[in-house]
């Protein structure tokens, strides 16, 4: 197929001198590149020895995107190389090649894409494919997609394809085929009488179906063998609404998935459900958002046996704040696709400038609270344990929170510019983190952590600035207390220097009371940025949008080069 694409493209270019020139005339090529390389060193304190490195003293992840556009036509490809993959990335990525290429044409009301593509229906509850380089996550579709706008305010999408699974090509039914259809209706554009109304209404609906050749899986109960009946076709559907009125914005989406026994849910047959709602209000200097969600057995993959971060058809948006400071990221939340109930509230308020409390430049207050619990579960029938494989698994009241807490986070941030040279912010985080469930550390107690961050920036002159971060994390559990100091020196727009030390001084194991030091320098030349750092990386979870990967401890040099044109 890839060969066919290349041949077709070459044919398009060389089908004749005149037509090739015509094809190229007015065309533009864009692209971007990234190389991430690490050189690993033994570090006895981290338990990294020559033998544990096993000869793997370096790793490199790299990609390059090339996109050609000419009027409505576009074609592109992405080359990737993992030689070998950096520590913490799935070893199945090892190798290099072109996992993504496409060609498409976009007209006024019609768009067609063949090859690989990314897509999202609504909030993604039943379908979202995307790529997240930092996670090593890519579930792109390989197939065909059509978008059509039959008349004002109506947007239709239909697609069919198979998903990326590292470097393994689709063959012999080794994974499922996904088909999907989405319709979105902007009522104000569709109905002339609503065009001038202040209230904007958008409705949407999606259907997704996965076909996967039934696997044979059996189970012995006592001495009798049973075979699972697997559905070859699994459908999921969702309806959504978006109401906007002045500063108010209401978003809601409900999704339902038919019986989908899989390795992820322990082969139970309960239908899946998800509800995601969000109500926000904003005006100048003030914004508030209230959100709630329920996830119930909503892992939806195009591989019934797959349990890693691969072959996900859908995406379950997180309801927790993604923190940027390093110590709060010690305890990130990973979405639990088998079930969770969550609420979140966010408030942003800027105390007006030139007021008594707000000061000359104003003071910004950000408050965020989120809480995620397990589902409340009951046995399907007396005598059948909850979550029993080969059954409906459990029953659950749609609006009930389970008693088991997964995550709770209250954080407050105050930011203020004091004068033309100095600005600062202070943050406080109070976290409750179920490390047993989120990180899969069976039996470990709930982590209760208090974290404080002071962030100060001082402008030395027009281009130079210093930034100092002081962080402290205090907990009786897990690895105990941490303190962090980070100092950055910026010479805009070309140079950047930083030194950092994360000190785990409260680790209950005296030998692990380590300094995780790091020094970095970066240089920007036009659209190219080159960064080199040296230091220790602490072990932990790296999460983006509730999807996480494990980052192992390491020590050594890291080179990062990004460029675009």
């Amino acid at each position: 197929m890839k060969r066919l694409f290349v041949l077709t493209t070459l044919f398009a270019f060389y089908a004749g001198g005149i037509s090739a020139q015509g094809f190229l005339k007015g065309g533009q090529v864009h692209g971007n590149f990234e190389i991430d390389a690490q050189y690993y060193q033994p570090d006895d304190k981290l338990g990294i020895t020559d033998s544990s490195l096993a000869g793997k003293v370096y790793g490199m992840n790299a990609f390059g995107n090339l996109i050609y556009t000419n009027g409505g036509f576009s074609a592109g490809l992405r080359y990737e190389a993992y030689l070998p993959p950096l520590n913490g990335f799935d070893a199945r990525y090892e190798g290099q090649g072109i996992p993504y290429w496409f060609a498409g044409y976009q007209g006024d009301k019609f768009e067609i894409t063949v090859g690989h593509f990314y897509e999202q229906f609504g909030n993604g509850l039943v379908l979202r494919s995307y790529e997240e380089w930092a996670l090593g996550y890519d579930n792109n579709f390989n197939g065909a997609r059509i978008k059509y706008q039959p008349f004002d305010g109506v947007y239709l999408k239909a697609l069919a394809g198979t998903q990326r699974f590292f470097w393994e090509p689709y063959e012999d039914d080794n994974r499922g085929i996904v088909k999907g259809f989405d319709a979105e209706f902007y009522l104000n554009d569709m109905i002339p009488g609503l065009r001038e109304k202040k209230t904007r209404i958008v409705l949407g609906g999606s259907f997704v179906s996965k076909y996967e050749k039934a696997k044979t899986k059996s189970i012995l109960v006592d001495t009798t063998r049973y075979v699972y009946e697997f559905p070859e076709n699994v459908a999921a559907m969702a309806g959504r609404v978006n109401l906007i009125h002045g500063g108010f914005n209401l978003v809601g989406e409900y999704a339902y998935k038919m019986n989908d026994p899989s390795a992820m849910n322990g082969f139970i047959y309960k239908p899946g459900e998800a509800l995601f709602t969000s109500l926000s209000y904003s005006q100048k200097g003030f914004g508030v958002t209230l959100s709630a969600k329920r996830i119930d057995n909503m892992s939806f993959k195009s591989g019934i046996l797959e349990q890693s971060n691969a072959l996900d058809i859908n995406y379950l948006p997180p309801l927790t704040k993604q923190h940027l400071y390093s110590l709060p990221t010690l305890y990130p939340y990973a979405t639990q696709p088998n079930g969770e109930m969550g609420v979140q509230a966010q408030l942003v308020y800027t105390i007006p400038r030139k007021s008594k409390i707000g000061g000359k430049y104003g003071t910004k207050i950000e408050v965020n609270y989120s809480k995620i619990n397990a589902l409340e579960k009951e046995a399907v029938e007396p005598g059948i344990p909850i979550d029993s494989t080969g059954t409906l698994g459990y029953r659950s009241n749609f609006f009930s929170f389970g008693e088991l807490e997964y995550y709770e986070d209250l954080n407050i941030k105050l930011s203020r510019k004091f004068n033309s040279k100095f600005k600062a912010s202070v943050s406080y985080f109070n976290m409750k983190y179920n490390i047993d469930v989120i990180e899969g550390h069976p039996g470990e107690p709930m982590v209760y952590a208090n974290i404080g961050v002071l962030d100060m920036t001082y402008k030395l002159d027009y281009t130079k600035s210093l930034r100092l971060e002081l962080q402290g994390l205090f907990t009786e559990q897990d690895r105990g207390d941490w303190a962090t100091v980070l100092l950055e020196y910026n010479v805009a727009p070309k140079w950047f220097f930083s030194i950092m030390d994360e000190y785990n001084y409260g680790n209950p194991d005296d030998d692990m009371q380590l300094h995780y030091y790091n020094a970095a320098v970066a240089y920007v030349l036009h659209s190219t940025r080159i960064a080199l750092s040296y230091g220790r990386q602490r072990e932990g979870l790296l999460c983006v949008g509730g999807v996480c990967r494990q980052v192992p401890a390491s020590n050594g040099f890291t080179l990062n080069i990004t460029s675009s044109f």
Binding site: T49, S51, P150, A158, R225
Partner: protein, 288 residues
């Protein structure tokens, strides 16, 4: 004209929804269908032979042995199951290049039970060939051919569930005897890893760098015994019933250094009195 177009679009939307909605198999309880026992057709059961290769990363002659095992595997495919056991003096570690420890409790137990032979030597189904059980590398092929000529006596089916989140491998094997047999039998389940790049002492420059082959690729390396070195007795004090399944279960959490896509489960059944292996099987941890 516009009305007609809108009607067509509406029809397209409705039919698309209908098409996708019907693309779903709704199942009703019971979701598990009783199968009883799959009785293997003796004509379809293939005899698979176990080669246990005793080796060590500081053993200068061992690359020769591994080369022979590799060549035999290339010829006989799934009918040969290789288990590489690092044990003995040459498998000891030392600071520097040979600090990786491939030894295992189970491997050492087997090695000691077969009287700590010099490496490289091996066992072919733990059966006697030319009056010996522990065979030199040149005897592996004739012993293997002799074993392969025998009729299969049992079948082994291995079911593996790998949880990539906590890296736990749950294994369930089912052994079915094809004919009447006497005596007690045990089933062993081991986990092995392929394609481990780690130094190996080598005295044969024709095979690779000598004396230290730094990027040597170790194959079929025994990592852990899931059911202990000697497995589980499946019929203590009872006769074997032909065509009845004998189940063995176990689980193991993969070490963080073990790459699941290179790990395999090796299972075999042997007579308790002679330790002779009558059937072996091997499957990948993550599936084919």
């Amino acid at each position: 004209m516009i009305m007609k177009m809108k009607k067509n679009i509406l029809l397209l939307i409705v039919s698309s929804f209908f098409f996708l909605f019907t693309a779903c198999d709704k199942l009703d309880s019971p979701y598990l269908v009783e199968q009883g026992h799959d009785i293997p057709d003796p004509e379809e059961v293939v005899r698979k032979v176990l080669l246990e290769e005793f080796t060590g990363h500081k053993c200068p002659n061992c690359p020769k042995g591994s080369k022979i095992a590799h060549d035999l595997k290339a010829i006989h495919g799934e009918q040969l199951v290789v288990l590489t056991i690092h044990a003995g003096w040459y498998a000891q570690t030392e600071p520097g290049m040979y600090s990786e420890d491939f030894r295992t409790t189970a491997g050492t137990a087997i090695y000691e039970d077969f009287e700590q032979p010099p490496t490289p030597q091996g066992l072919v189904n733990r059966a006697q060939y030319a009056g010996k059980t522990v065979l030199s590398i040149n005897q592996w092929e004739p012993a293997l051919l002799e074993q392969l000529e025998m009729e299969p006596e049992a079948s082994i089916t291995i079911n593996v569930d790998y949880n990539s989140t906590n890296r736990e491998v749950s294994v369930n094997s089912e052994t079915i005897f094809l004919n009447d047999v006497t005596g007690e039998f045990s089933v062993c389940m081991f986990i092995t890893e392929d394609s481990i790049v780690s130094p190996q002492v080598n005295n044969d420059p024709d095979l690779g760098p000598s004396p230290d082959w730094e990027d040597y690729v170790h194959e079929h390396v025994l990592r852990k015994a899931i059911t202990g070195a000697w497995g589980e007795n499946i019929n203590p004090g009872e006769d074997i019933i032909p065509e009845e399944p004998y189940e063995s279960k176990g689980s193991v959490v993969l070490d963080e250094d073990w790459r699941e896509n290179h790990c395999n489960i090796v299972a075999f059944v042997y007579r308790n009195d002679t330790k002779q292996v009558i059937q072996a099987e091997e499957v990948s941890v993550i599936g084919e």
